[in-house]
C-alpha cells in the first residue's frame, strides 16, 4: 500500500517554474487516542481528490475480507499490527500539496504508551493540528499533547473538534470544548490559529463549511493548513556552530558543523566554548569547487559547513563556536524543563548523559521541582519524574558544557537526556547560571514583599525595615544632592549599620567638595570615596581628549562608564542592598521605578526611600532639619553631577534638564539604567 499522492488537480505555473521554492510545511496531527486522527488524514486525501485510483476500493475489499467495516484510517495504518489493534503505533508521514504549500502530514499516535513516538513525530513539525472528539471532549492525552507541543517549541496550533455528527452538530457543545481547550492552551502560552467543528467521517469542515456547521464562522481545515508557515532558519540570532568533528584528511584542519543560528564570513572572529579561546575564520571549505570564484566566503543558519581557523587553537567535537559579542555560557550546572519517556522514573542523584548540540556531558540530577503529569488537571508535584511526565530539573555536570537558555536561543537552548545509551527525555534550558537565577528569584520575591510592606511607611521606617530584611551589607551612595542630604540626615538619626559611599569622578564642582567636607563634619562620619581606576582615566583621556565627552553620546557614555559606573560597581561589590535618593517625579524614566527594585546585574536590592516624595517635600524636610545643602541649588542647579556636564535650569524646565544638556533624549549616566527586557 502506498499513500504517496501527488497533486494532479491544481496545475500551478509556479510549481512548474520553481517547484523547490514552494513553502514546505510539516504538520503533526496530535490528540487523544480514538479521537480520529487517521480518519481525518484519510478524509483529507479523499476530499481533495488526491488518492490514487482504486485505492479506496482495494481497502474496502480488504476490510470485507477481514470482516471489518471500512475506515478511512486504513489508508494510514499501514502496518499489520496497527490494523489488528486499531491504533497507530508510530509516526507516518504523508506528502501532498495544497494551493500554495507542499505539506507533509505527520500522523502521531494518540495512545499514552507511545508518547515517545508522538514526540518523535511532533519534533519534526512546524505546526500542529490537534484533534478532539466532540462527544468525549478534552482528555488527558489532549492536555498532555498540548503541553508537549509547548515543550517542543511548536507555536502554530489549530484545533479540530471532530465527530460533530455524534453530537448532532450542537453548536453549544462545540463552544464549551472550544473554551476549555483555548484556556488550556493559553496556560501554556499557546493561542490556537483556529478552532474548527468537523466530522472527518462525513467530510464536514474539511474542505467546505457544510450546512450542519453553517453556524461556524471560521476557516475550514484545508484553509488552516494552507496558512501555516514553515520554520525559518534563525539567521538573526547570534552565531552558534556546534562542532561535529575536526577532519584532517589532508593538510587542512577542517572544523565541520552546522550553522544553527546566525551567520559568518571569512575573517570573522569566533569564540570557542567551553575553552574560551578566540580565533578568526580563515576559510570556508567546500566540495566540489569548480573554480576560485565559487569558493564560499560566507555561510548562514541552516547550512552544514566546514571552516578553517587562522590560529592552531585546539578545537574538538562538542565545542560551540559563538559570536564574540554574544556568546553562549560555559557552565557546569543547568536548569531545564523536561519531559521524561523512560520507563524508570528520573530521580535526584541519578546519573544522566546529556546532549546539547554536538556536545555530550555526564552529570547527576541535583534537584527536581514541579514534577507532574501534564495530562492531569490538578496534579500533585512529585519528587521524581515518572514516565511521560514533565518537571524542572537541575543537572550538575562533571565538565563544563556550552549552553544557551531556550529563551535566548531555541537551537542551542535545548537538551536531550539519555539513559542506558537510549534517548530517554529532553527539554528546554531555563537557566545556564543556576545559582545566579536562584538568587535573582529570591531577590525578586523579597522585592515584591518589601514593595507591599514599605509603601505605607515613612522614609525612616522604610530604611529601617529594609536594613532588617536584607541579609548582608547595605550601601547608601550619595552625590550630595538634595535627596541624598535628606537621606543622610535620616541615616544619622537612625544609627543603622549602613555604609555611606560616594563616587569622586574627579570632575565635581568645588561646591560639591565643600559640601562633602561639611557633611562629614556635621554627621561625624567618613564617607567612603571610590575613585575611577587611574589606567582607565588615562586611556579615556588619551583616546577622546580631556573634554571629549561633548563630542558624541558614545564618548559621553564612555566617560560616565569610567568615572561613575565602574567605581559604583566596586562600591557595591559584595553588597546585598543599595539605598539611593531617586524620586519618581525626577523624570518619566524614573517614574517607572518602584520603591524596591532588583538590580539583576549587580545582584542587589535597591531602595529609593524618597521615591514618592516631591522636590518640595524634600526641601521642606531639609529646611526643618537644617540639613546642609549645595549652594548651587540656590543658583538654579536642580540636579548636580560632574561640573562640565551640569548646568542650571530655567524656571519650568524639567528637573534633570541640566544634565548632559547638549544631548537629546536620555539623561541617565548608567547607574540606574534597567536592562531592556527582564
Amino acid at each position: 500500500m502506498n499513500v504517496r499522492v501527488i497533486d494532479t488537480t491544481i496545475a500551478t505555473p509556479v510549481r512548474k517554474r520553481d517547484a523547490t521554492a514552494r513553502p514546505l510545511v510539516r504538520i503533526v496531527i496530535v490528540g487523544h487516542v480514538d479521537h480520529g486522527k487517521s480518519t481525518l488524514i484519510g478524509r483529507l486525501l479523499h476530499e481533495t481528490g488526491r488518492l490514487p485510483a482504486g485505492k479506496v476500493e482495494t481497502l474496502k475489499a480488504v476490510s470485507e475480507r477481514r470482516g471489518m467495516p471500512f475506515e478511512w484510517s486504513f489508508l494510514l495504518d499501514a502496518l499489520q499490527t496497527e490494523r489488528d489493534q486499531g491504533i497507530t503505533l508510530d509516526t507516518s508521514q504523508i506528502h501532498f500539496a495544497t494551493a500554495s504549500r507542499d505539506i507533509v502530514l505527520i500522523d502521531a499516535p494518540g495512545h499514552a504508551e507511545f508518547l515517545r513516538n508522538m514526540i518523535t513525530g511532533a519534533a519534526q513539525a512546524d505546526a500542529a493540528l490537534m484533534i478532539i472528539d466532540a462527544a468525549e471532549g478534552v482528555r488527558d492525552q489532549t492536555r498532555r499533547h498540548g503541553y508537549l507541543l509547548h515543550l517542543l517549541g511548536i507555536h502554530q496550533v489549530a484545533v479540530v473538534i471532530n465527530k460533530m455528527d455524534r453530537v448532532g452538530f450542537d453548536a453549544q457543545r462545540f463552544h464549551d470544548i472550544e473554551t476549555e481547550i483555548a484556556r488550556h492552551l493559553a496556560t501554556l502560552g499557546l493561542a490556537a490559529t483556529a478552532i474548527i467543528p468537523i466530522s472527518a467521517r462525513q467530510g464536514d469542515g474539511i474542505a467546505t463549511i457544510t450546512p450542519p456547521i453553517a453556524w461556524h464562522t471560521g476557516p475550514t481545515v484545508l484553509q488552516v493548513l494552507d496558512r501555516f508557515a514553515p520554520a525559518r532558519p534563525a539567521t538573526a540570532l547570534p552565531l552558534r556552530i556546534p562542532v561535529q568533528a575536526v577532519y584532517k584528511f589532508d593538510d587542512r584542519r577542517i572544523i565541520a558543523g552546522r550553522v544553527e543560528t546566525g551567520a559568518l564570513k571569512v575573517g570573522d572572529e569566533v569564540l570557542i566554548l567551553p575553552r574560551r579561546r578566540t580565533a578568526r575564520v580563515r576559510s570556508i571549505e567546500a566540495w566540489p569547487v569548480p573554480d576560485e570564484s565559487r569558493v564560499p566566503r560566507a555561510a548562514r543558519a541552516g547550512q552544514s559547513i566546514g571552516i578553517t581557523l587562522d590560529d592552531e587553537v585546539f578545537v574538538d567535537r562538542g565545542d560551540l563556536l559563538c559570536a564574540v559579542p554574544a556568546p553562549a555560557k560555559a557552565t557546569r550546572r543547568l536548569r531545564a524543563r523536561i519531559f521524561w519517556l523512560h520507563d524508570a522514573p528520573l530521580s535526584v542523584g541519578d546519573a544522566v548523559t546529556l546532549r546539547l548540540g554536538a556536545a555530550e556531558g555526564r552529570g547527576t540530577v541535583a534537584l527536581i521541582d514541579n514534577a507532574v503529569d501534564p495530562g492531569k488537571l490538578a496534579a500533585d508535584a512529585a519528587t521524581s519524574v515518572e514516565q511521560n511526565h514533565v518537571g524542572e530539573i537541575e543537572i550538575a555536570l562533571s565538565e563544563p558544557i556550552a549552553a544557551d537558555t531556550y529563551a535566548a536561543n531555541p537551537r542551542t537552548g535545548r537538551i536531550v537526556l539519555e539513559a542506558g545509551g537510549r534517548i530517554a527525555g529532553g527539554g528546554l534550558v531555563l537557566s545556564t547560571d543556576v545559582e545566579a537565577t536562584r538568587r535573582l528569584e529570591e531577590l525578586r520575591a523579597l522585592a515584591e514583599r518589601l514593595n507591599r510592606e514599605l509603601a505605607p511607611l515613612s522614609p525612616a521606617e522604610r530604611i529601617a525595615q529594609f536594613r532588617r530584611a536584607v541579609a548582608g551589607r547595605v550601601v547608601f551612595t550619595t552625590s550630595f544632592g538634595l535627596e541624598d542630604q535628606a537621606l543622610m540626615q535620616l541615616l544619622a538619626d537612625a544609627d543603622l549599620d549602613i555604609d555611606c559611599a560616594t563616587l569622586d569622578t574627579g570632575r565635581l564642582f568645588p561646591e560639591t567638595y565643600q559640601l562633602w567636607a561639611e557633611t562629614e563634619a556635621r554627621y561625624r562620619r567618613r564617607i567612603r570615596a571610590h575613585y575611577p581606576r587611574t589606567e582607565d582615566v588615562e586611556a579615556l583621556v588619551a583616546s577622546q581628549g580631556i573634554n571629549g565627552f561633548y563630542d558624541s553620546r558614545q564618548a559621553r557614555l564612555s566617560c560616565c562608564q569610567v568615572r561613575k559606573v565602574e567605581p559604583l560597581n566596586r562600591a557595591l561589590a559584595g553588597a546585598k542592598g543599595w539605598i539611593t535618593g531617586l524620586r519618581a517625579d525626577q523624570s518619566a524614566y524614573r517614574g517607572e521605578t518602584t520603591l524596591v527594585e532588583v538590580d539583576a546585574e549587580r545582584g542587589v536590592l535597591k531602595l529609593s526611600p524618597l521615591l514618592d516624595w516631591t522636590r518640595e517635600a524634600v526641601l521642606a524636610f531639609a529646611r526643618e532639619h537644617d540639613v546642609p545643602l549645595n549652594p548651587l541649588h540656590a543658583k538654579g542647579f536642580a540636579s548636580i553631577g560632574c561640573a562640565p556636564c551640569t548646568r542650571a535650569i530655567a524656571p519650568g524646565e524639567p528637573e534633570r534638564a541640566g544634565r548632559w544638556w547638549w544631548e537629546q533624549g536620555k539623561t541617565e549616566c548608567g547607574l540606574h539604567l534597567r536592562p531592556a527586557s527582564p
Binding site: Q244, L341, R422
Partner: protein
C-alpha cells in the same frame, strides 16, 4: 536556501554524526539513484572523499548496466568498494511469497557481510515516501543482534539527536536521505549533475522507476527519456514508485515482513 539545500544540509549533518559516533561504518550502495545521491552527499560532507567503505551486497542478478555503472564510478569516485555475495535461494525462509523470497537473499547476504566485517553502522538510502513501513523509520534505527527491526519499540528521536550507541553485536541503520522524496532525488540529481544508470530513462515506451534484481523488477510505461522528462512525469503521476517491485505486492504484509527481519 531552497528545499534541496535544506535537505542536503540535513543529510550532511546526519552523515557527519554517523561518522563521529560509530566506529565501523559502511555505506550500502544499491547502485540506484538514491544511493548515488547519498554517495554524492557523503563526498560533500567529507570534502571530496568517502571516509568509510562503500558496500554492494550483490545478488548476482542485477542488470548488466548496473554492474557497468558500479565498476566505472567506484573507480572514478575513488571509493573503497566492498562487494559481498548473497546465499542461494534455498537458504531463505520458504514461507515467503516467491518474489519476496528472492529479495530476502539480500537480507541474508547483508547478515553475512555484517558478521564478516563487524560493522556497527550501515548507511542506507531508504526514503519515507517510498513505502509506508519506511515512513515509520528513524534516522538512526537500532537493529537487534539478528539484524531485526523492532518497530514496536523504537526509541524516541528528536531535535537531530540520535540513538547511536548500539549494544555489542547489534548495529544501527543510518538513513541520511529519509526525508527526501522521489522528486527531490531527481531534482537534486539534475542540479548536481550526478550520473545515473540509463535504465531509468525511457526506451521504446518503458523505463525503470526503481531498480532491483532483474527477475523481480519490471519497467513502467513511460516516454520520459531525460531527467527533465522524468521530473515532469513525477509531478503528474499517481502511481507509486515501487509499482514495478514485485515483492511489495504479493500480499499486504510481505514487505513489512521483509523489513522486520532486516531488509532495507
Amino acid at each position: 536556501m531552497d528545499r534541496l539545500d535544506d535537505l542536503e544540509a540535513q543529510s550532511i549533518f546526519i552523515l557527519r554524526e554517523a561518522f563521529a559516533r560509530l566506529d565501523r561504518l559502511a555505506l550500502l550502495w544499491s547502485l540506484g539513484k538514491d544511493s548515488n545521491v547519498m554517495i554524492w552527499i557523503a563526498r560533500k560532507a567529507f570534502f571530496g572523499r568517502v571516509p568509510f567503505p562503500v558496500m554492494h551486497v550483490d545478488t548476482g542478478k542485477k542488470f548488466r548496466e548496473m554492474y557497468a555503472f558500479r565498476d566505472r564510478y567506484a573507480a572514478e569516485w575513488g571509493v573503497n568498494l566492498i562487494i559481498e555475495p548473497c546465499p542461494p535461494i534455498e537458504a531463505v525462509d520458504p514461507t515467503l511469497p516467491p518474489a519476496a523470497r528472492s529479495a530476502a537473499r539480500k537480507t541474508e547476504g547483508l547478515k553475512q557481510a555484517l558478521a564478516k566485517h563487524q560493522f556497527d553502522g550501515l548507511i542506507a538510502g531508504i526514503r519515507r515516501d517510498e513505502e509506508p513501513t519506511r515512513a515509520k523509520e528513524r534516522f538512526f534505527s537500532p537493529r537487534g543482534q539478528a539484524g531485526g527491526w523492532d518497530v514496536k519499540d523504537q526509541p524516541p528521536e528528536f531535535w537531530d539527536q540520535f540513538n547511536a550507541s548500539p549494544p555489542p553485536g547489534a548495529h544501527l541503520r543510518v538513513h541520511p536521505i529519509l526525508q527526501w522524496t522521489e522528486l527531490d532525488i531527481w531534482r537534486y540529481t539534475r542540479r548536481e549533475g550526478i550520473p545515473i544508470i540509463p535504465l531509468y530513462l525511457a526506451r521504446n515506451g518503458k523505463r525503470y522507476r526503481s531498480l532491483g534484481d532483474k527477475d523481480i523488477t519490471f519497467p513502467v510505461a513511460s516516454d520520459a527519456s531525460t531527467i527533465d522528462a522524468i521530473i515532469a512525469e513525477l509531478e503528474a503521476t499517481n502511481t507509486p514508485e515501487r509499482a514495478g517491485r514485485a515483492m511489495d505486492h504479493e500480499s499486504e504484509d510481505a514487505f513489512e515482513r521483509l523489513r522486520t527481519s532486516g531488509y532495507l
